[in-house]
């Protein structure tokens, strides 16, 4: 079920951090396409530029050269406001450290994206949608629990539920299993596989073999360069 139009397209993307030396590039002329409906893993050694790449794709960093397109839209041409709106509705993020707000309950965390909608929300009843997302991930009995009372795997599933709140086109995950034990990690990977089967395009950064094994495509990055685009077979 690979779509014709690429979900992600990077052309001659170059990134240098402001504090870095002039010749020290975090990304060096990266060209990359990821099609709609793919489940792609990005692997590479520490400091190779994986997070940097994901930040550009997710519109979290606007300081780069080259062109980044997501779902046909050039992120470089968008204002902060438009980009925030785009992230809000069309991209779901999952982080290694979960990124939950400790003072909010599970359901309140999942509802957070609804607070930042500009204009009409595609979701009419935010709480009902949040409960639905949590239930789908097996957390129907933990909706009002605070994150400190949840296990690592449960926290990551709350984070995934939040990422899925508006049913975005793209899920970007940075080391989603990095803080979990192997059994829990496997369950999370299975969750991503299931979501991909439902039609979500999923990009996962990992340095774990079993995670990349689960992906249909593995992109290798080294020293800011795509050394193996890992064309799907």
């Amino acid at each position: 079920m690979l779509g014709l139009r690429p979900m992600i397209r990077l052309a001659k993307v170059r990134k240098r951090y402001r504090t870095a030396r002039p010749d020290e590039l975090a990304l060096r002329d990266v060209d990359l396409e990821i099609a709609t409906g793919e489940l792609a893993a990005i692997v590479g050694t520490s400091g190779s530029g994986k997070t940097t790449l994901l930040n550009l794709i997710g519109g979290l960093d606007r300081n780069y050269e080259g062109r980044v397109e997501v779902d046909g839209r050039d992120l470089g041409g968008m204002s902060d406001r438009d980009l925030a709106r785009f992230r809000n509705l069309h991209i779901g993020f999952v982080f290694q450290q979960f990124g939950l707000l400790e003072h909010l309950s599970a359901v309140e965390n999942v509802m957070l994206p609804s607070h930042f909608v500009r204009g009409d929300s595609p979701v009419s009843d935010a709480r009902a949608r949040a409960v639905e997302a949590l239930t789908a991930l097996g957390l129907g009995h933990k909706v009002d629990e605070k994150p400190r009372n949840l296990s690592g795997g449960q926290k990551q599933r709350v984070a995934i539920a939040r990422a899925l709140f508006f049913k975005p086109k793209l899920l970007l995950c940075d080391e989603p299993t990095g803080s979990l034990d192997s059994t829990t990690g496997r369950q999370i990977i299975e969750t991503f596989q299931a979501l991909n089967a439902e039609g979500y395009t999923v990009v996962i950064i990992t340095h774990e073999q079993r995670v990349s094994d689960a992906a249909r495509r593995v992109i290798h990055i080294e020293d800011g360069r795509i050394v193996d685009p890992g064309r799907t077979n």
Binding site: N55, G58, L60, D61, R62, N63, D80, R81, A84, R85, R87, N88, L89, F93, F95, Q97, G99, L101, H103, L104, L112, P113, S114, H115, F116, V117, R162, A163
Partner: protein, 493 residues
């Protein structure tokens, strides 16, 4: 961001960081309570001082005096006198912009003394009489029975059902005094069975041999204050305790007065005569120590005992201003026209200024306290933003714009301001109640108010608005710093 979501997120954030905000919030509370206390005190004192001791919104014009350093006189070394206050001057003064009323006053220009008060004090009190006359219409709206404060010695028409006052009969459309036989009060006491020669309130005057109506007088509200506040205490002892007096108790109080003769001297123009005065009301426009009569009586008595010139010149002219703010301009104009201001008016201006300055100083102190609290708030927010850096990154990732982040932090500042301001206002008000309670224990003194404080509505708005403003200003730079953070940057450890 929707207002509901903003309020709930902001509320939850403040609650979780309450420990951080406690210090700066406390500063706001202290500053705002100081502000409310001292502004309230300033307003309260102004009410008493300007509203009751001096009269706000008025300018009292007097004839210019030359002050040679040794003496004051109407003319400089006897050459070229200053203008006396007469009817023409009154007309000129009424033309000044902002003047809404012109009220001439005329004092007795001859000696007078009075005695009476046995009914009130238990014994007769003798006193030098200081008297002042003004147009009855000036006080018509202020006193309870304006029909009583009138010139009974002016012609009174009668007939067609209009009756005459006690002791007068209607003759050819005019109320004429009935003839009577004067009986000395001492003889009357000796033979109380003697039927009164004049009916009702009227009494027989020795010099006219006719029934006269008592002269209605007003006294100032201040006089009763002064009496109750200190005179009653001072005059008690020896002859027995002097009672505190209420307004109701003294209305209708009668006093015998001898015009043209007092403890200090005697008029050379005419033989002294004796009349009765009757207290008919209280007015802030009445002379502060003395009695105030309808001006017609004063004019006639001045003509009789002091001469025609005394009857044609006013002692002072009160100008009523459209509002207190107009007073300085009017005062300046009056001085430019070659007249002086009564000491009372000068002092009122000075007192008002002094109160304003003192209030200003204390408001400034409270502003400094609040400003220090705002700096503290600024620091607190910078710290909190550092703590919440990752969280801000997460919020940005899931759709918060720069504006949303700024709004969240300024919202927290607003909430702290509302709380700090509200609690501060409450604490300040509580402190004023405590101060009044302590003040209530002080012994009575003249003009002692029920409360030393006044709280105009704007004060509450200013207190809370002021707290919110300083908190928001304090949070402004931290909020901007947080908003400027790139989401990717915020998300790094």
């Amino acid at each position: 961001m929707k207002p509901g979501a903003l309020v709930s997120l902001v509320g939850q954030n403040v609650v979780r960081s309450k420990k951080n905000f406690l210090m700066s919030g406390f500063g706001i509370i202290v500053g705002i309570s100081t502000f409310v206390f001292f502004i309230g005190l300033g307003e309260g004192i102004k009410n008493v001082v300007l509203g009751r001791i001096f009269l706000a919104g008025q300018v009292e014009v007097v004839r210019k005096k030359f002050d040679t350093g040794l003496t004051e006189s109407d003319s400089l070394f006897g050459i070229g006198g200053t203008r006396p206050l007469d009817a023409q001057v009154a007309r000129e003064l009424s033309a000044i912009e902002g003047v809404t009323g012109v009220f001439p006053k005329m004092k007795f220009a001859f000696p007078a003394r009075g005695w009476g008060g046995k009914r009130l004090f238990g014994r007769d009190v003798w006193a030098e009489i200081i008297a002042d006359g003004l147009e009855p219409e000036v006080v018509a709206t202020e006193i309870e029975q304006p029909e009583q404060f009138r010139d009974w010695d002016a012609d009174i028409a009668c007939g067609d059902g209009a009756a005459c006052p006690d002791g007068r009969t209607c003759q050819a459309g005019k109320c004429e005094r009935q003839a009577c036989t004067y009986v000395d009060p001492k003889d009357e006491e000796a033979a109380p069975a003697t039927p009164p020669a004049c009916p009702g309130e009227s009494y027989c005057a020795e010099d006219t041999g006719r029934c006269e109506t008592p002269i209605p007088v007003l006294v100032s509200n201040n006089l009763l204050e002064l009496y109750n506040g200190s005179l009653a205490t001072a005059m008690s002892g020896g002859a027995g305790k002097m009672p505190r007096l209420s307004k109701q108790a003294v209305i209708g109080f009668g006093l015998n007065v001898t015009f043209g003769k007092s403890f200090l001297g005697q008029s050379k123009k005419a033989k002294p005569i004796t009349r009765r005065l009757k207290l008919v009301g209280f007015s802030d426009k009445a002379i502060s120590v003395g009695v105030t009569l309808p001006i017609g009586y004063v004019k006639r008595l001045n003509a009789q005992f002091a001469g025609e010139e005394a009857a044609a010149t006013y002692h002072s002219i009160i100008l009523e201003a459209a509002d207190q703010g107009r007073v300085p301009a009017i005062a300046t104009k009056v001085k430019a026209m070659g007249f002086d201001l009564a000491d009372k008016t000068e002092r009122a201006e000075q007192a008002g200024m002094l109160i304003n300055v003192i209030t200003l100083v204390f408001s400034l102190i409270s502003v400094i306290i609040v400003a220090i609290a705002a700096v503290n708030i600024s620091h607190t927010f910078f710290m909190i933003i550092l703590q919440r850096k990752r969280e801000i990154g997460v919020l940005r990732a899931i759709g918060a714009s720069r504006g949303d982040v700024r709004l969240l932090i300024l919202g927290e500042a607003t909430l702290i301001g509302l709380f700090g301001g509200g609690l501060g206002a409450l604490a300040g008000w509580g402190a004023t109640r405590a101060a009044d309670l302590l003040g209530g224990r002080l012994p009575d003194f003249p003009y002692k108010p029920e409360t030393f404080f006044a709280f105009p509505a704007w004060l509450w708005g200013a207190a809370v608005g002021f707290a919110v403003l300083f908190c928001v200003v304090g949070a402004f730079f931290p909020a901007n710093a947080a908003a400027r953070l790139q989401p990717a940057e915020a998300l790094t450890n």
